[in-house]
């Protein structure tokens, strides 16, 4: 055994995962097949709100190759209600959420029947033969109308379209003063309404699920982020004994929150396989995915920022309407609540009030999408800070610095009650300004304005922070979430010296296999290539809470390290026995136990073999080094950074070009800089896409009109710039590696930076806001309206 000399943590390792992905040796769920496999296809409602008067499946059933046709009525006794794990208030209203609609359909795209056939083509062909009579019901599509008196109701049995009202008030919570006083005493008030448009996560691998009922277990393969949560929820929903259900997430092609779900299709696939005793598979088309997989964002934000004329912010009042869509899915109701702790961002103002109304509409349900509640909050406060700066004629960076938490003030408990452990906003901002040439671009902006150039330059700022690393279980409990936020890991020392690391955090592109190998290689002193990381199968990795909320490194890897400590402790006892010394006399470094002050040493691989042979172990010591551990974080993780965006706006066409994008992120210590850069790039792309391109649009009949990649504008390579990325490194004080989450940071930070830059470019033309996405048409219209003012 040779010791690892150079530390693995911090190294820009290329990824272990790549080998299979670049050669096509992949196991996407849709690649898998089994003998006698049957295929499912769903009939979906074209109507957004209707009573199902009649369903006739006779002709479909008679078609060659069709094995079964099932409707909601057929499954009514066994399908249960799709779970919502987050009752945000004690009186939260949630309608039953059947996997297949039984009496009514509540959004266009809701599944009403399923065909199971010998081939996928035969299943799809038979869909056309199912005859459904719909009696249309009144539509609820607009958030504000939905909560008005006398509104039509999505679920008349509930008597309201309001699912829950959740309030945080700093005066009541004892974390600050009364926002009403701050508003009454304000020298300046900035009042704005912003729309967080509805987005579609748009993971590249369409959802797919296969269930094998053969044998003693039901085995489900699913393109999911959450095999463990899915197993438990399916057990509870469908009355399947948990220990008889195995869930496998094989290669999963992206998620971004969109696969953090217990889907109707997974429930129906399990029930169909149970009924027929045969393996059943379903893979969605892209248009089916855009229509029926959950959407994200969709909030209306009414905001009041109070300040003094010297730029000191004194309070913020936030009133949200959050669109749940037609049903509460797994964590729909909690998404806007995650934002409650982020509207105050990096600022120290003393008064804060947040009120969120969760509203039902006849649209596809919403749920987690990258950032989940925090991008919305960050957008609001960072836009407001630019608006306040403009109102006061201050430099927006100076205004921010006047209000932000200073480096020496950490740890800092915010007006929303969060304790930020660490941060250095001064350092990140200074570095970003330097890389951006802030002063030079401001000079060019002045010059273009003076010249009356048809192309104007704007500079947008976002000095963001976010809370991630979900999450301390006690905090989740206080927020009424049903589960905890811990993560589990196990380490198995194989007799040959190789190491198996089992993680409960289920990866789907993040690079766990590489990063966890680096961490364990350092800890146990074994070569990087001797470590195998296993995940995503409830039989291989029986405990876990999966991957979302930038939690894998800050929670999942801490569980791995904790398990590793136990391995070392067990090995130490055996090493002492082997070398006939006291345990306290041993030093462990680079994979070697050395008797202090001597050159006597034994490697951990030799100990692993000695444990395997078990010929000479101390009395009472079990022959195993294998260890497992569960880690519950004591706090969230608070990455931060300064993002600066320069846009060129053609005032004659409304066309926006990103001239320069600089971001300096602080994610604490970095395990693998290559992976971190990749996460930031991808996060930025999705944040820019919200600012410039993407929007899920429903017409007046509730039909999704952006139902394909022709209409829903996921940006291509020509739609995005190259980003200039850099980092400052302020270690987290709440975990042993000093790391912070990075998966969502780019998305959270970038949207307001871009919109701020566009507004800044044309503010002198009378523009103070442009609704997202800032298409050329919208930018041009805003310029026209501004000039007319």
């Amino acid at each position: 055994m040779t010791a690892t000399v150079e530390p693995e943590v911090g190294k820009a390792r290329t990824r272990k995962e790549d080998a299979r992905l670049i050669t096509g040796r992949t196991r996407w769920t849709d690649n898998l097949t089994l003998p006698g496999l049957l295929h499912m296809a769903f009939l979906r409602s074209p109507s957004a709100h209707a009573k199902i008067a009649n369903i006739d499946t006779t002709a479909a059933k008679a078609r060659p190759g069709v094995i079964a046709v099932l409707t909601g009525a057929d499954l009514a006794d066994e399908q249960g209600s799709l779970p919502c794990a987050w009752p945000v208030t004690a009186d939260q209203k949630a309608p039953p959420a059947p996997a297949l609609a039984v009496d009514t359909v509540n959004f266009a795209g809701e599944a009403v029947a399923v065909v199971i056939a010998r081939s996928k083509a035969e299943a799809h062909d038979a869909l056309e033969l199912i005859d459904v009579d719909y009696d249309d019901l009144p539509l609820v599509l607009d958030l504000e109308s939905a909560v008005a008196d006398g509104a039509d109701l999505v679920h008349p049995d509930l008597g309201t379209n309001t699912s829950a009202v959740w309030i945080f008030d700093s005066a009541q919570a004892g974390t600050g003063t009364d926002v009403a006083d701050a508003i009454a005493d304000a020298e300046v008030l900035i009042e704005r309404t912003y729309r967080q448009q509805r987005l579609i996560p748009s993971f590249m691998e369409p959802r797919s699920v296969m269930v094998d009922p053969t044998g003693e277990h039901y085995t489900m393969w699913s393109s999911t982020q959450i095999p463990h949560i899915l197993r438990l929820m399916l057990a509870l929903t469908t009355n399947t004994p948990e220990h008889k259900l195995r869930v496998i997430a094989p290669d999963v092609g992206g998620g971004f929150g969109g696969k953090l779900q217990v889907t109707p299709e997974e429930v129906v696939c399990l029930l169909a396989a149970k009924r027929l005793g045969k393996p059943v598979k379903w893979t969605e088309s892209r248009s089916e995915s855009l229509l029926s997989a959950h959407h994200g964002r969709d909030q209306l934000q009414k905001l009041t920022l109070a300040a003094r004329r010297d730029g000191t912010v004194t309070g913020l009042k936030v009133e949200l309407l959050a669109d749940m869509g037609a049903y509460l899915r797994l964590v729909s109701s909690g998404i806007p609540i995650l934002g409650a702790f982020m509207f105050n961002a990096i600022y120290k103002f003393p008064a804060y009030h947040f009120a969120c109304t969760n509203v039902f509409t006849n649209k596809t349900p919403t749920d987690a999408y990258r950032g989940a509640g925090r991008p919305e909050a960050t957008f609001a406060i960072e836009r407001l800070m630019d608006e306040l700066a403009a109102e006061l004629d201050m430099d927006p960076l100076e205004l921010r610095e006047k209000n932000w938490i200073k480096h020496e003030e950490f740890p800092f408990t915010t007006v929303a009650g969060m304790t930020y452990d660490s941060g250095d906003y001064e350092a990140a901002t200074a570095r970003a300004k330097e890389l951006f040439d802030y002063d030079g671009l401001r000079a060019e902006q002045r010059d273009r304005r003076e010249r009356g150039d048809s192309v104007q330059l704007g500079i947008g700022i976002s000095t963001f922070t976010e809370m991630c690393g979900l999450a301390p279980s006690r905090v989740l409990g206080a927020l009424s979430y049903a589960a905890g936020g811990w993560e589990h890991a196990a380490i198995r020392m194989l007799p040959s010296g190789k190491v198996e690391v089992v993680t409960g955090s289920s990866a789907h592109g993040q690079g766990h296999e590489t990063a966890w190998s680096q961490i364990v290689a350092d800890q146990l002193g074994v070569p990087f290539d001797s470590v195998e990381v296993l995940h995503g199968d409830t039989q291989i990795s029986p405990k876990g809470l999966d991957t979302y909320g930038s939690r894998s490194l800050t929670v999942g890897a801490m569980a791995v390290l904790k398990a590793g400590e136990k391995v070392i402790a067990k090995a130490r006892r055996i090493a002492a026995h082997m070398m006939e010394c006291a345990e306290d006399d041993l030093e462990f470094a680079g994979g070697q136990f050395t008797v202090r002050g001597t050159d006597k040493s034994t490697g951990i691989a030799d100990i692993a073999f000695a444990v395997f042979s078990a010929h000479d172990l101390p009395d009472g010591v079990e022959p195993s080094l294998d260890s497992e551990a569960t880690f519950d974080p004591e706090n969230f993780s608070f990455p931060h950074g300064t993002h600066l965006c320069a846009t060129e706006v053609d005032t004659e066409t409304g066309m926006v070009k990103i001239r320069k994008y600089v971001c300096v992120d602080d994610v604490g210590k970095v395990v693998n800089p290559t992976i971190v850069d990749g996460q930031v790039h991808g996060g930025l792309a999705q944040g820019l896409a919200q600012a410039l391109y993407e929007e899920a649009i429903h017409d007046e009949s509730g039909t999704l009109t952006t139902g394909s990649f022709v209409d829903y504008l996921v940006p291509s390579a020509v739609d995005l710039p190259s980003f200039i990325t850099d980092r400052t490194e302020t270690p987290s004080t709440t975990n042993v590696l000093g790391v912070k989450g990075v998966g969502e940071a780019g998305t959270i930070a970038s949207t307001p930076a871009v919109v701020n830059a566009i507004v800044d470019a044309v503010r002198h033309l009378g523009v103070t806001d442009i609704p997202m996405p800032c298409s050329p048409m919208r930018v041009w219209s805003a310029i026209q309206a501004g000039g007319a003012r």
């Binding site: 050669t23 690649n31 590249m204 999963v252």
Partner: protein
Amino acid sequence: MRITVNVDGTSYADDVEPRQLLVHYLRDTLGKTGTVVGCDTSNCGACTVHLDGHSVKSCSVLAVQADGCEVTTIEGLARDGKLHPVQQAFHDNHALQCGFCTPGMIMQSIDLLANNPDPDEDAVRHGLEGNLCRCTGYQNIVKAVRDAAHHMRPGAGPEVERVTDVRTPSHASGGE
């Protein structure tokens, strides 16, 4: 209908339905599951393969149209255990995360380099416009394609579907 197709160096003769798409023939009949389906409107490019040396979206080609043709998929690029320079460059430059778009992205990149052996950033971005990636923001993909170009002798058409023996250290990571 009976078709004869050479896929990744092996000749196949099969009866196919006239409506069957090439991508489904590759995946379902031949088990070439390295090629994947990402959309139904030919926007995403995940299913890109080479038909007689030129990239096509295999969701937009009928299997019968490939009769008598040579098809190269992601699974046919590595030769004698050596990766194609574009595959190697994707790995070296962290040009993939979840990897679902990667087969199509690599096949399209090879076609792009066949047409333009030394593309600048803008040319790479335009050459890959028909291939969507949701994970990387494209920055490292652009970097990988340009890195691959430096490792490949100028060539055209099917000539670029080959493996070089000589590798030099990849570029350091970081922004372009």
